[in-house]
Symmetry: D2
Subunit: 331 residues, 4 copies
């Protein structure tokens, strides 16, 4: 049975399949074959579906499983640009530039033998260290690897005293740019490596379509993550992630949007961080104006009192923030 | 009766008065006389108290009540540097550089005739417009004033359809710098105009002491506010705000800290916004290391999974973010 | 006759052809055929050459000649992502990942009928306006087009009173990323849209090689430009640009480097602008250490006294700065 | 004899004394007595003069001479907020809020026994290291002190091979804010610690007046400095600096302006660095419009082709950039 908010979601009201499941598919490691490290139109689709298709996807962790032991040294194992492997692209019939791809995230479960979770410190990467972008002369921190038991029910076992709840989400998801092929480490206007915990089970993400078939990619699921993904590695883990795609013809906007039971959210990525916040909030102002009847300046003033910001990541090539407002203030 | 978390607060455990009320005082508009527009050591104290003193304070709104009607034009009425009037300074006996002033916020209630709340758009100020700092050639937005009915029980009446809950907090609070006198529009290492909604009732803010007597200032209470205070004006309102001050000898740190029932928080202010986030999170790493037994790098990695960020303001001369962690992860 | 500095250039000392011309080629509009809008490995080379090849290239202006009249409206004519057309890619035999491609810029001359130069204001683009990245609610500026007479000898005729010298350079030049295909509007580690006036006649730019054959692209020549390319459009013009390519095996570094008669320069691109400056200066510290015998911290301190910064652009998706030091301080 | 550009300077044309010397004064270490660490209105003037006064000033170096040996450790000796000692304040008769103070810098000569110059690395300070603002967890660099022979004729002896020319300027100069007292480490709208090499001999800096008497402070002279003052310490040295002050009634603007023989310059300070550039360029657009007859958008477009940016510092609490245009393009 569908929950009531889904029946009233934008997807249910506007998309071709009305949010109904019309077919069932899967992408396994085997059927995926080669994973991808860029979001672009140059790879052949691994699956072609109609709107309404439910797809279960075997995702790798962001290190493609290559960090196997706590004695591994990430900077010796992980080599640019072959990081953050993505499933896809999935071709959605009928999708053309100017449309919107709706992706309902139905379920995320850990996959593979324990310890299934990994986090680490890697040289010149993270929010509190000098990096390739924020270039410093200081010595890097030591590299540390932590392997963790992750269970959908029992949670994430941090140590003997601390267990964190299993709050999984998709770290990287998006459509293909029209002619660009951009590293899966980047978040941008088409989605990508947003690392935003709101992209979780029982939410719908709306992605602008730029290439024929939309060409959906996804991967990089996190078992849990704090705001900002501070050291650059959440609890990375392989999963089976189940999504359902749908297509909204002619709904055009610049940056990803999201809906869940309680709120609508716009997602901006940029540097410096205030630019990500500006993008997210401006998109929300525009959304409130175009579809909920607000005057733009009135929306601007109301968000001043009731808007919410979530910092997804403060470590990727662009930082990602989500701006949201409660649905009950929109009606 | 004191609630149990207060009995176990840092204030209760470390401060001179153990968080107990030892005397009662008030600062009225009359006893305040001249309000102040800088945080500095050059003004005479309006009140001198011992640790443990409870003080009720009649605060002005950030415009000192000068925006009286929706037909007012803010840029004609509000003139730098005479904005954001502050009560104080309050001299706390025994406080010297290197100590920490604990301020328990006990109660905030609206004051004065309705409509008691004000928000507005002012030229060249706000998060989605060109400003004096982010200088643009675009035309400014029109100026708009909104006066609102604010009631501690009924909430903030935005319009006929929308009423927001009354969630008041102190927008501007801090100690005096040692020799600087800084505009009350600024947030920085001593507190000031942080506009952080967590500085609310039933929380304790810990402020580093730089000048003899600490010289506490406060003002600028908001009836409610969204993350980032987007247009620059929350629901500004005059209040009677009741605080209790206490003194922790020799507890030295660089940036304001906060504690409530659920979490501890560090507060950073800076530009670009990622610098505010870096400051807040580094301070939290250090706090977890110095007082909760964490290894610094382990704290860094745990915050990656369980840290929370709150964007206070994205409109002031420095942006303010609070980084926090749940208390139950600290034990 | 070669000038003496060229005979002592890094190219002359280290490259396969020692900076000598070994063959002569040209890329005309006709032989180029389709121009490119991304820097990537997915396009077929238009020319394959050996190190030492001199190539004259018919470049388009950044608007591909589509702004023909001062009554045109740029935002109606220029459509993302089909902007900033590039010649190439040029495949250089023997070049592999980890090598360095040296490009000696020999001559830039205007091409086509007058008025050959174009600059303009376009909505939501420029250094002093809200943009897609620095998102604002302000109304955009009006769009303005200016067509100018540009002559290599007489200069750039701004108006009846002002004539600017013809100081041409290549706005966009770089090698292909390994697997990414990035918009030619971007500058990054491989070069691209740096808009740095030092990339001019009689300089050598050193570019890291990531893809087999290096895959050199170039275009977007400017007749003159101020620091920062403030409104986003320099004096854009089509040219015949003559370069000579050479190959330095095994010279690996992260960001483009440049050499002319007087100085060596490292080029960083990033946001916020301080990150571009940090990248450029750190690369220069490392270059001084690895090839000129400096201790890293001594280089850091000497650059504090004698380093120079040039702001290339403050309008592109990343800002570009060049950090340099006089050659006479290196020996 | 005055040089001709001075006779045509804005000071000569608009100021009360027409740029003529009307009296001669000096501030010695003895007459200064206590140096100051804030720019504010709370200190008593050490000298009161009329417009046209020439004043020779004995400045300290930024460390007040406390770094005496290359074995000193800066972080043990230098303690906030008692850094960057300033001479003044100088009260200029007749100056009131809304006026402009013109300061002609006539001569800077080193003062005291050799080695008179000092530069150093200090923990958590500098452009390529984590700092209190750009907070990192990396270990700080080692501290290094370098003492140098500085001579007005022979230059700055860096080591046996490298001698840099003596190109002195005033690192910190400004008027008092109206009610704020801001650390002399800060640059802002009133001047302060701009560290901009253009504030040198034979230039005139124009400073907005906010407090009665203008209350001019100055200090922190550098024997030479690269763009950005990369490690945070130029060649710091004590000097005798000779200035001449004049007063332009009713010339009101927001940020410091500068004039020399070749160009006019506007000075912006902010973070991130692009905000400093935006401020500087917007002020220059406005100056060109208000006094040189340009249409604002035409000035914006001309600066795109002919504007120049100088990065003063990339290490202070705000970064400082100067934007300039050649005088010959203004007529």
């Amino acid at each position: 049975m569908t929950t009531s908010w889904l029946e009233n979601s934008i997807m249910a009201r506007k998309a071709i399949a009305r949010g109904k499941q019309t077919s069932v598919h899967s992408i396994t490691e085997g059927s995926q074959g080669k994973y991808h490290y860029v979001y672009g139109p140059y790879a052949a689709p691994v699956l072609t579906v109609d709107p309404g298709a439910e797809i279960s996807v075997e995702t790798h962790d962001a290190m493609e499983g290559r960090i196997k032991s706590e004695s591994d040294r990430p900077s010796e194992i992980l080599k640019l640009p072959f990081l953050n492997p993505q499933n896809g692209p999935i071709y959605v019939n009928g999708a053309v530039k100017g449309d919107c791809l709706a992706v309902h995230i139905k379920k995320i479960v850990p996959r593979g033998p324990q310890p299934v979770g990994t986090t680490c410190l890697m040289k010149e990467f993270g929010g509190l260290v000098g990096t390739g972008d924020t270039a410093m002369l200081n010595e890097p921190l030591p590299e540390i690897v932590k392997k963790l038991h992750v269970d959908a029910v029992e949670g994430v076992k941090w140590n003997d005293k601390i267990t964190l709840p299993y709050e999984p989400f998709i770290g990287t998801i998006g459509t293909s740019p029209e002619i660009e092929a951009i590293s899966s480490l980047h978040p941008d206007y088409y989605g990508g490596n947003m690392d935003l915990p709101d992209v979780n089970q029982d939410s719908i993400i709306y992605l602008p379509v730029h290439a024929p078939g939309a060409l959906l990619y996804l991967g990089d699921c996190h078992a849990t993550q704090g705001d900002g993904e501070l050291c650059g590695f959440a609890i990375e883990h392989p999963t089976v992630t189940t999504i359902q795609v749908d297509l909204i013809k002619g709904w055009t906007f610049r940056w990803p949007r999201l809906e869940n039971e309680r709120q609508i959210m716009t997602i901006g990525s940029g540097r410096p961080m205030e630019d990500a916040a500006r993008i997210a909030y401006r998109e929300l102002v525009r959304w409130m104006a175009s579809e909920y009847g607000f005057d733009e300046l009135d929306a601007y003033m109301l968000l001043t009192q009731a808007g919410r910001l979530r910092v997804g990541n403060m470590v990727d090539p662009k930082y990602t923030l989500g701006a949201s407002i409660s649905k009950h203030l929109l009606t």
